[in-house]
């Protein structure tokens, strides 16, 4: 069997087929659905591990090319950069599935939920494996559509309103991306992703067009990456159930946008052409503005999930910022943050879901003293929050460190100021929560009964376990950064393929 051809496709089908089967099940069929979910996500995890081993240790390439239109093909390719997003989504899908099974027990429409959930993962894997622009576009748009039923899952008027906003933004973004891609392909023919870029030959004749196309592509991708001013859907979409916010809005959807920006800058335009066109500085400025704006907005939100959402707005733009800087360390910082931000933010959202489910806490002012009765959950939350701030040796520190070095390498020292300001703001909106959670006086109205106030009552393990796992991963990603399968090592390989020294 030709693994190189089949493996990328099996990777897609390992969540597509379960999704279709799940749709045929009834809500009450808990065990068939759960077994299917867990075995499919487990299988995907194993396949991802196998691919990682094949690519990193054996130096293999997995590539599947299927005819699509007369001069276009669907291209799925596994290489270190795609491996990053594949690995991230496979691991987090597995963990989130466990969490979601616990979270949604006894709630209605579970069949619909898990079916679309698996479709979302399929779309994300497709985005990760896409080897050319049209394949990327197909899965990118598919992701927009299949997340909609999850956003409106609760069916309340607020959820439906959020769903409308969500569709408006993502479909609008899709239109910009579509027209950008078509324009680019009219000039360049089918565009494959190749480290270093493929369209340099257009630089002389089509400079103005290339700049406009770049703007269209980044605007289209920026909607999902929640770059200000295209970010508004993200806080709205927090109405969705916690596992959706955790995996999709902290990881899959925003990552799809950020990953797309990485692909466009490094693998379509290439750093050299992007610099010559003068599009990197504006990108860096927009990303910096988003970082600061998101953090400031997070300060003003008291709903926990909304605060986390604005934090996501801010943190995802680190990736765009690193992409806009020239220099290997910046590339490392940008790509490693693809993974680090995902792991840290999913921890925080898991914990927010636990607080909401177990204690009905939605507002951060109600969190006072919650650490006393839920020490493990609060520990996980603390690890996530410290990671976001960038406290060593957590994952967030590794990202920020590389971004800082990168900014010096590329002669943009002002970026350091952005990073420091952002860290201060991160502390300003996370530390009070952490402090009050551990040291505040528990609210009377949480439990009411004086004696139970200090009793430890954690959430069920199906919710707690995933939260602790991802918290642990975000710690290990920092501690074991030198290990060859660590996100950092992977990011260094990715950066080495795309090295460009000014």
């Amino acid at each position: 069997m030709d693994w190189g051809f089949w493996l990328p496709q099996i990777m897609l089908f390992s969540s597509l087929i379960p999704a279709l089967v799940i749709f045929l099940l009834r809500d009450e069929q808990f065990w068939p659905r759960t077994i299917l979910n867990l075995s499919a996500s487990g299988l995907k995890l194993i396949l991802a591990g196998f691919m990682a081993w094949g690519v990193l240790a054996e130096g293999r390439t997995y590539e599947a090319s299927l005819p699509f239109l007369h001069d276009q093909e669907l291209l799925l390719r596994v290489e270190p950069l795609s491996l990053m997003l594949v690995g991230l989504s496979s691991i987090l899908w597995f963990i989130t599935t466990i969490y979601a099974i616990g979270y949604l027990e006894n709630s209605p429409h579970r069949t619909r939920f898990f079916g679309f959930f698996s479709l979302c993962v399929t779309a994300t894997i497709g985005i990760a494996l896409a080897g050319n622009l049209i394949t990327f576009l197909i899965f990118y748009e598919m992701l927009s559509v299949v997340t909609y039923p999850l956003v409106v899952h609760r069916g309340t008027p607020e959820a439906l309103a959020a769903g409308r906003t969500y569709l408006l933004y993502t479909l609008g973004g899709g239109v910009l991306l579509l027209i950008g891609i078509i324009w680019l392909q009219v000039l360049a023919g089918p565009v494959e992703f190749v480290a270093g870029g493929t369209i340099q030959f257009l630089a002389d004749d089509h400079q103005a067009s290339l700049i406009v196309i770049f703007a269209l592509l980044i605007a289209g991708l920026g909607v999902k990456a929640a770059i200000v001013p295209l970010h508004r859907w993200l806080p709205e979409a927090m109405i969705a159930p916690a596992p959706v916010s955790a995996l999709l809005h902290a990881v899959a959807v925003v990552k799809a946008g950020a990953y797309g920006i990485v692909r466009v800058v490094y693998d379509v335009y290439g750093l050299e052409l992007s610099r010559d066109l003068g599009v990197l500085i504006p990108l860096a400025l927009i990303a910096s503005f988003t970082i600061i704006y998101g953090s400031v907005r997070a300060l003003t939100e008291f709903d926990l999930k909304r605060r986390l959402a604005y934090s996501t707005v801010s943190q995802v733009s680190y990736i765009a910022l690193g992409t806009a800087l020239i220099g290997p360390a910046a590339t490392v910082g940008a790509t490693v943050h693809l993974i680090h931000q995902g792991v840290m933010k999913i921890t925080l959202f898991f914990c927010a879901g636990v607080f909401a489910e177990a204690r009905h806490i939605h507002d951060i002012r109600e969190m006072s003293g919650v650490g006393r009765s839920m020490p493990l959950t609060m520990s996980a939350f603390t690890l996530g929050a410290f990671g976001m701030i960038g406290v060593p040796p957590l994952a967030g520190f590794v990202s920020k460190w590389h971004l800082g070095i990168g900014s010096l390498e590329s002669d943009q020292p002002w970026v350091i100021a952005i990073l420091i300001t952002s860290s201060i703001l991160n502390s300003a909106y996370f530390l009070p929560i952490v402090y009050k959670g551990w040291f505040g006086e528990p609210h009377e109205d949480i439990e009411g009964v004086e004696a139970e106030r200090f009793q430890i009552r954690e959430a069920p393990w199906s919710l707690l376990g995933p939260s602790l796992t991802t918290a642990g991963v975000s710690l290990l990603a920092g501690l074991l950064a030198a290990w060859i399968y660590s996100p950092l090592s992977l990011a260094e390989i990715v950066a080495n393929q795309r090295i460009f020294l000014p």
Partner: protein
């Protein structure tokens, strides 16, 4: 077996006549057999054309210009295959649909005449469920005859048969609204046929032949030809319901029973479009001009924008879907300026637009049939199709709404659907030919489509449910045909290379195709 092409006309015709003669419950069985066999014949024809290229046949051995000849190239076979698959889905659905909605009880005190059956015996013996099958088979036969005919007078005969069958089907349930809509449709279609026939007469006077190939070879130009072309075009545009000649469509398509609505929107409108495309790019190409093409495009663009807005404003689901057809027909005609004489005759993008428009027709066929059939399920199960009262119904028929969503994706042109392929090709062509305005229209139209699809889905996904009555259970075969058609509209987007290659067989633009192949 070589004559599969003749069987695609004969089988539905024979089954239809037999169903008509025998009547009663047997007609359903005959209809199903007819649908199955016609589909098989259609795919034998596809295989034949795929292997051997363009297929030609002269009835009775008389060659054109004397005899009647049939011709199957990539385009006509493409349409026949689409009709076969959509038709099969509709037939399977119809088996249970009419059992579910028996229609108004045959009441002798209501002296409404259907005007449908030449041999109508009496009101009491012809239920909608029984008269549906002969008419539907006749419709199918006339569609296939139209796709295969290769002379402009036979095409007229096909058009007329199609109109008669359609009108009879629209008024099948003999309700006041549908009879009014049906008569309006009859008048519009009749006017269209007359204009077309007048054009045929003028053209015959000018060229002396009726055969499409001979007309094409003659490379006709001149005022008389332009007038003839104009008349034929107006006639066909009226039948294809291009804005502003769409006035008859929404009422007619929405008041018919669901399987009929599906056939009308998915197939019958396409027949007029098919004929127009064939004439435009084969016969009247030399007589055409950029100005005329741009005008057609503007009408198409207006249809897209206004039709979509109208669809968004509709309070009834079937009306919404019917207005969506008005908008989607607009997309088909934006193809004309893109594939027409705007640029250099050797520009490859003309061919891309041509295939793009036809692929869009294909995707719309599957998606719209699925949507109308879905609306039929909703209507017959809930007892109404008021868009703003659908709250909570997604929980009751999830597969129906899933299909509606998938079909909606295809109409929006979102990947990976067949609609995306059509839109991609047309957009590429618009950008390549620097006709930016069409690209903008195509994209805005997609967003507007998302608007009305989202209205339906978000209503249906609402949680608070007031149940008037427990909905009737939906027969599985109906759900399956709705879902199957929607899924096909998606699958045709995942693997478009072969259907697109198939369209090249015998297509105009032969010189351009070789360039594409490189």
């Amino acid at each position: 077996m070589i004559e599969a092409a003749i069987w695609v006309i004969l089988i539905p015709l024979i089954c239809g006549l037999a169903a008509f003669a025998i009547g009663g419950r047997t007609s359903r069985l005959l209809g199903l057999i007819g649908a199955g066999l016609t589909t098989i014949a259609a795919f034998l024809l596809v295989a034949e054309v795929w292997v051997n290229g363009v297929w030609e046949y002269s009835l009775g051995g008389w060659e054109a210009p004397l005899g009647i000849s049939l011709r199957a190239d990539g385009l006509s076979t493409f349409m026949i295959a689409m009709t076969a698959v959509v038709g099969l889905g509709i037939s399977l659905y119809a088996v249970r649909y009419f059992a579910l909605t028996p229609g108004p009880s045959p009441d002798p005190s209501a002296p409404l005449r259907t005007g449908a059956g030449r041999g109508e015996k009496s009101q009491a013996t012809w239920l909608p469920s029984e008269s549906y099958w002969p008419l539907w088979m006749l419709l199918w036969a006339s569609l296939n005859a139209l796709f295969l005919s290769s002379d402009i007078f036979n095409l007229y005969v096909g058009l007329e048969l199609l109109t008669l069958a359609s009108v009879a089907l629209i008024i099948l349930e003999r309700e006041r609204a549908s009879i009014i809509a049906g008569l309006r449709y009859l008048l519009a279609a009749f006017l269209g046929s007359m204009a077309y026939l007048l054009g045929v007469a003028l053209l015959y006077a000018e060229a002396g032949v009726l055969d499409l190939q001979l007309l094409a070879d003659a490379e006709l130009t001149g005022t008389a030809v332009q007038v003839a072309g104009g008349l034929m075009a107006v006639g066909l545009l009226l039948k294809a319901a291009l804005f502003p000649m769409h006035f008859w469509l929404p009422a007619a398509h929405s008041s018919a029973p669901a399987p009929v609505s599906a056939a009308l929107s998915a197939l019958v409108v396409k027949a007029a479009f098919y004929l127009l495309i064939r004439l435009w790019f084969e016969v009247f190409e030399p007589a055409s001009s950029i100005a005329v093409e741009q005008v057609i495009g503007v009408l198409g663009a207006t249809a897209i924008i206004l039709g979509s807005f109208q669809a968004i404003r509709q309070a009834r689901l079937k009306m919404m879907i019917a207005y969506s057809t008005v908008a989607q027909v607009g997309y088909l005609f934006v193809m004309i300026p893109l594939a027409g004489s705007f640029g250099d005759p050797q520009d490859v993008w003309r061919f891309e637009a041509w295939t793009g428009g036809l692929y869009h027709a294909l995707s719309h066929g599957f998606a719209k049939a699925s949507m109308f059939l879905a609306a039929g399920v909703i209507l017959s199960s809930l007892g109404h199709d008021r868009v703003w009262n659908l709250a909570g119904s997604a929980a009751r028929f999830p597969v129906i709404y899933l299909s509606f969503g998938i079909a909606g994706m295809s109409l929006m042109g979102l990947p990976p659907s067949a609609g995306f392929v059509g839109k991609w090709l047309m957009l590429t062509s618009a950008v390549e030919s620097a006709q930016w305005w069409w690209a903008v229209i195509l994209l805005v139209g997609g967003l507007l489509t998302a608007g009305y699809v989202a209205i339906v889905l978000s209503q249906a996904l609402q949680r608070d449910v007031e149940i008037d009555r427990e909905p009737d259970p939906i027969p599985r075969i109906m759900t399956l045909s709705v879902f199957g058609l929607a899924v096909l509209s998606m699958l045709l987007g995942l693997r478009a290379a072969e259907p697109l290659e198939f369209l090249e067989i015998g297509a105009p633009f032969q010189t351009l195709i070789t360039t594409v192949e490189e």
